[in-house]
């Protein structure tokens, strides 16, 4: 079908991007001054795109729901950013990063996009250092690296446990430079509620000013959606409270295909749920798996005794512990990819070996690392026969230097000291690989509407590797979109300013105000959170870490039912004028209630297990891989791209076949 033209350039993989850049049309500097671009979302993908486009000379308007672009949820990324710099001389290369990413994504991403990502990755680090991003350094003054899951090299650059904040502050600073020059006009505390199409092209948006409540029209020659992922469809996730699918979903309703909605990353190391009041979950960085060992008791009696508070984890000897990742995956051990680690934790907990009150937690233990680092330190200090206390003291210092802020965060939430007793962790929804379908140029199926970062689906396949989200956000925004969007905008040099005084804007604005009125006129039985929590429970139980046809079919029914109930009975207090946080939430939940159903529908049609999508019906039956996920390349080697047709149940499926010319399709083994 022609509507799914991926536009992958011809030629050898390694030359595609260079050739493409050389052959696409450019806009001359004088003409750029006459072209307006709207960027929605100001995280790494949006902030970097806005800054670069403004620097090139376009007039940029940015929109974010937060009070400042600096608060976008990229800020919360902890562990690091990958780049194929090979500074460690451990065999890294563009090809290897490309290979790891395609394999890590379980062969459900597009080769050409991933190769380009790997190709520009090194440049991101150069760029960020030039901008003053304070990455961690070694004593010689050069940049330090660490390892992340699913790879055998150290290619992750980091700034302690807050790499995301430092990179976002870099992009935000680049934005500030352009705001100061008048090239970016920021609209903070604004939420995009529709995209406006004129003659089939995206020519603007409708936004609500979250302070005054006013509905505004904004026109541009192109619209970039960099609005992040939709993990909050699960209610509990590591996303920010405001993270939402609304902008992407509105574009979907206007014609942008939604790709692989069921591909969700459930991150293995999060702080377990403590009670019904819980509003969100907190991630403990994957970098902790560099030094922490994951285990549960070997004997079920011990697990039971620990749950009942009769035994402490520190009382169990080495022989009484089951380091199940090291046991099952000797080659990668504790550093298997996230989907594998999460499923393994669920498997142990379902079998009754969980270690907290609810039975849904495993240990992440730093004892071995503390003692190892402590002994190293004692040795370098030339201390003869150091006491165990001294070794421990040294070791705890080293761990504190590496992960201090994460340990502090854990202690504040759980009220236990992770230096003395192992951390308890459990998987939680963290990232969504699915998103708006885009071609090689990052354009959606709406002309002139682009999607970057987590909001698109393009690079991570069915599972994202750690430290690759930051890489993709910045690659898209700094280095890819600024080129590809120019090719499109080169047709607009004579278009002139886009008027908002047209029937198309009129219709879109009416559509928005009508929906708000409808949200405010529910019978008032239940709060927005009531519905959001219910939706989250359906998603977690039936579309979570493990899925089957029956559960998914039930989920589709239940979500449709819940959506009906929501529209009839939701309670949104106050008025649509001025600040109304319940109204904001209601709008977002109303979109989640549609996306959730499409999500389940997508998971149902994909009757294979791949990456984070685990279908209980599709499991290896014998051999070394027995019990592991079974991918089905013959029938499912495609991207599912859904076209909006009214109700989610009527969405039409389009398939983009994935062609692998440079990588051999293999069973993903981490054994």
């Amino acid at each position: 079908m022609s509507r799914l033209d991926s536009k992958i350039p011809e030629g050898p993989l390694a030359e595609k991007w260079t050739k493409h850049k050389n052959s696409i049309d450019l806009v001359n500097p004088a003409n750029k001054r006459n072209i307006d671009v709207i960027v929605v979302g100001t995280g790494l993908a949006g902030g970097s795109a806005a800054a670069t486009l403004a620097e090139l000379g376009y007039n940029v308007k940015t929109f974010c729901y937060q009070d400042s672009p600096r608060r976008a949820h990229s800020i919360a990324a902890q562990g690091g950013i990958n780049a194929a710099k090979n500074y460690q001389g451990d065999g890294d290369s563009t090809y290897r990063l490309f290979y790891d990413t395609v394999k890590g994504g379980d062969y459900r991403s597009r080769e050409a996009n991933v190769y380009r990502l790997a190709e520009v990755s090194g440049n991101i680090i150069d760029q960020c250092v030039a901008q003053g991003v304070p990455f961690a350094r070694e004593y010689g003054g050069l940049l330090d690296n660490r390892s992340f899951g699913g790879v055998l090299v150290s290619r992750t650059f980091y700034a302690k446990g807050q790499t995301g904040q430092q990179l976002l502050l870099g992009a935000y600073a680049a934005m500030n430079r352009q705001i100061n020059r008048g090239k970016i006009k920021p609209f903070n505390r604004h939420e995009m509620l529709d995209v406006v199409l004129v003659d089939g092209k995206a020519r603007g948006i409708i936004a609500r000013d979250l302070v005054t409540g006013e509905i505004e029209r904004h026109a541009a020659h192109a619209v970039v959606l960099a609005t992040g992922g939709y993990g909050n469809v699960f209610f509990l996730s590591t996303n920010a409270m405001g993270s939402n699918v609304t902008a992407a979903w509105k574009a979907h309703r206007r014609g942008a295909f939604f790709a692989n909605p069921c591909f969700t990353q459930i991150h293995p190391t999060c702080i377990p749920v403590s009670g019904e009041h819980q509003s969100k979950l907190t991630l403990m960085s994957e970098s902790l798996r560099n030094d922490g060992r994951i285990w549960v008791p070997k004997k079920i009696e011990d697990a039971r005794a620990i749950r009942e508070g009769k035994k402490k984890p520190t009382q169990l000897s080495e022989e009484e512990r089951d380091y199940y990742l090291e046991r099952r995956y000797p080659a990668f051990g504790n550093l298997v990819p996230r989907d594998v680690a999460s499923r393994a934790a669920k498997e142990r907990c379902d079998a009754g070996f969980g270690v907290n009150k609810t039975g849904e937690a495993v240990y992440l233990d730093f004892e071995a690392a503390i003692m190892r680092y402590g002994r190293e330190k004692a040795l370098t200090e030339h201390i003869q026969d150091p006491s165990e206390e001294l070794i421990r003291e040294f070791g705890e210092k080293v761990i504190e230097n590496k992960y201090g802020n994460l340990f502090q965060m854990y202690e504040k939430i759980v009220d236990q000291n992770p230096y003395k007793t192992p951390m308890m962790i459990y998987p939680a929804v963290h990232y969504t690989m699915g998103g708006l379908w885009v071609d090689y140029n990052l354009q959606t199926t709406i002309e002139g509407c682009y999607a970057t970062g987590e909001a698109n689906y393009s690079d991570h396949g069915a599972n994202r590797l750690g430290a690759s989200a930051l890489m993709q956000g910045l690659a898209d925004g700094y280095f890819v979109l600024p080129y590809t969007i120019g090719d499109y905008l080169s047709n607009d040099i004579r278009t002139g300013p886009i008027s908002t005084n047209t029937p198309e804007f009129e219709e879109a604005e009416k559509n928005v105000t009508h929906r708000i009125e409808k949200l405010m006129s529910g019978s008032g039985k239940h709060s927005v959170d009531h519905y959001h929590k219910k939706l989250g429970k359906i998603m977690w139980n039936k579309c979570g870490m493990s899925r089957n046809a029956q559960g998914l079919s039930e989920a589709i029914e239940e979500i449709a039912q819940l959506r009906k109930d929501f529209w009839a009975n939701v309670k949104v207090p106050g008025t649509s004028k001025g600040v109304n946080q319940e109204l904001e939430k209601a709008g977002r939940v109303s979109d989640f209630l549609e996306l959730g159903e499409l999500f389940a529908k997508d998971a149902l049609q994909r009757a294979e297990s791949c990456g984070g999508h685990f279908r209980e019906e599709s499991v290896e039956q014998s051999g070394e891989q027995k019990g592991e996920a079974l991918r089905d390349d013959e029938n499912f080697k495609y991207v599912s791209a859904w076209e909006y047709k009214g109700e989610p149940k009527d969405a039409a499926l389009h398939k983009e076949d994935l062609v692998f010319k440079n990588i051999e399709l293999k069973t993903r083994s981490y054994k």
Binding site: H73, D126, E138, Q162, A240, Q278, P573
Partner: protein, 248 residues
Amino acid sequence: MKLTLKIWRQENAAAKGGIQSYPIDGIEGDMSFLEMLDVLNEQLISKGDDPVVFDHDCREGICGSCSLQINGEPHGPDRLITTCQLHMRMFKDGDTITIEPFRAAAFPVIKDLMVDRTAFDRIQQAGGYISVNTSGNTIDANAIPVNKEDADESFNAATCIGCGACVAACKNASAMLFTAAKVSQFALLPQGKVEAATRVLNMVEQMDKEGFGNCTNTGACEVECPKGISLENIARMNREYLSASLKG
């Protein structure tokens, strides 16, 4: 836990605000402070009252959105955390908790506990960046080694989350700690040295324009800062400012 909440309610920037009292029950120690407010809001909504408006987003202490003055202290009684990381186990059954917005002339109230902190954005727009293009055509990241101590100090300054607790803690509502952290991050790195003089002059000028008060070295900002930003940054900014002024 049973608590009495005394919360600042204010309809909008122009309206006159006041404290209102709300009894609340069934609060558990494992709840975060904001989850406790979620419980209150659910109750208000079910009674048909307007829920309390407050800024929050990441709820893990890094976005800098949350901004409550709790019993007179920004981010409440615990140290080195934001309000979203404050847990109810810090309080006792029967306690009365007073919750107000961050107070400063430069942070006008928008509604209830939500304030306008765009003054911080404008200070950074005045010079909180290094003027390099984002084309990627720069030198290799390892071409300029950076002394580890300077890199670490720069990082420590850069951990500022722009929440505004320093301003709210200061009796003069001064933004010196915030501005100094932003100036220091760049001043400590070789990449930031090129524009150091104009940067500090422009940022301080904007800070003064926004109506923040003067620094009288009480150190309250450092005590309340959720990221432990050191007062040394203020000393560094003063040196940078003095040397830039003399050059000018």
